[in-house]
Symmetry: C2
Subunit: 247 residues, 2 copies
């Protein structure tokens, strides 16, 4: 584990130790380098990166807010198992946001430069079909969704999307390279862009929904194939669950 963590560490240029650590750990959890259920020790991580425990702790807190780790006081910090319920909820939130973004983009129109960039991204994605460049495709996939959101001026929506997407990316990483073929995903990107470019909000919405529902096709199969990575319970016990109502 250590070597690949350190590799990510070196390629994180931005800013302070906390942010770099957060990004390294986040990526490692998404990529399953840190497996669900694994215990993360403040001290061990701190020693690995030759930093103090404090920024590690702060990174843990942020990860726990994204639902990627669970901090149990005086016990330990653990990578949370993939939860079916959490994935479904993340997908729900993401669909709500991206549908709204696509509709907004279709209705208000996008700058020509943004449309060009989106077309360009799809073209570059197509070059990944045969070359088995999955990692490259995934980055371009994220670029497509981000460019659309930011191009429509909805950067808060994108920020939230990015947070919940972590839950989904963990699943997507499992389904490499089978399940849904890349070509199909690229076609769906094309459909989204076509709807947006044509100013047809309804078509854009349908395209986004079709795209984001692909994960539903692969999920049951993945749970069957990797049961040890998933939470057995259908509903995950969340600390931030329903609270009492004002008396």
């Amino acid at each position: 584990m250590t070597p690949s963590l350190l590799a990510l560490w070196d390629e994180q240029p931005e800013g302070n130790v906390r942010q770099r650590l957060h990004e390294v750990l986040r990526q490692s959890i998404i990529r399953m380098t840190l497996a669900p259920g694994q215990a993360l020790s403040e001290k061990e991580i701190a020693d690995t990166f030759t930093v103090s425990r404090q920024p590690v702790r702060e990174a843990f807190i942020r990860l726990s807010e994204a639902g990627l780790v669970e901090v149990r006081p005086q016990r330990g910090t653990y990578v949370v198992p993939i939860s079916h319920a959490a994935v479904m909820e993340a997908r729900f939130v993401r669909e709500a946001l991206e549908v709204a973004v696509a509709r907004s983009a279709a209705e208000q129109g996008l700058d020509a430069s943004v449309l060009d960039e989106l077309h360009d991204l799809i073209a570059r994605q197509k070059r990944c079909i045969d070359s088995d460049a999955h990692d490259r495709f995934y980055r371009l996939d994220e670029d497509f969704h981000r460019t659309l959101a930011l191009g429509a001026g909805h950067d808060a929506a994108w920020r939230v999307t990015q947070e919940v997407k972590a839950q989904l990316d963990r699943v997507r990483y499992l389904s490499v390279p089978d399940t849904t073929p890349i070509a199909k995903l690229i076609d769906q990107h094309g459909a989204i862009l076509a709807g947006v470019a044509a100013g047809d909000a309804d078509a854009a919405e349908r395209a986004v929904k079709a795209h984001l529902r692909e994960i539903l096709r692969s999920l049951p199969d993945l749970i069957a194939r990797f049961p040890e990575l998933f939470d057995i319970a259908s509903t995950r016990p969340t600390l931030s669950a329903a609270q009492g109502v004002t008396a």
Copy 2:
């Protein structure tokens, strides 16, 4: 400032110092006890609550992620001004989520107990109309939206909604008690509930949108009345803005 902060502190029962501090500061910012632009000193806050700087710092980090404060390294931490763009974006995200939640609730149906609770909440809201119990109404308002979201099983959506709602609540707190009369808001709650209960997703969506667009009516007036609380620039300079695209 100090006394009212400490009052909030004492009524935060839950858990650790960091969470209590976060909630106290968050509420204080929403309620304008901590005014936009005000500098927050780690040391000063720590001394006020007789805790160390560390949990204060961690609370600041969380607040900065919600866009309520800005941490400028080696400089200071400041309550961010209300930004027109940030409010519009928060409203956009909230509408996207709550529309999706309401549609989901209408389509899948809610338990009778949840419907009862929603009706009860509306009834209790009506009792606030004449008594000028604005604070009480606002709590019941939040209860209504939370109960709907959690009742439909979308607690992740609610968690995100709650985060972005802070930006909107700051504005709403300014508009007490004029602008939109409480009675109108309660009617809108009733319309949402009616749509959901009838299983009419389209009606529920229309009702949610009408409800959440009330803020748009009051915002220009508030900017004119309290220009010193708002960011002058139309677009706020966000650190997490657009990044380059994969080369």
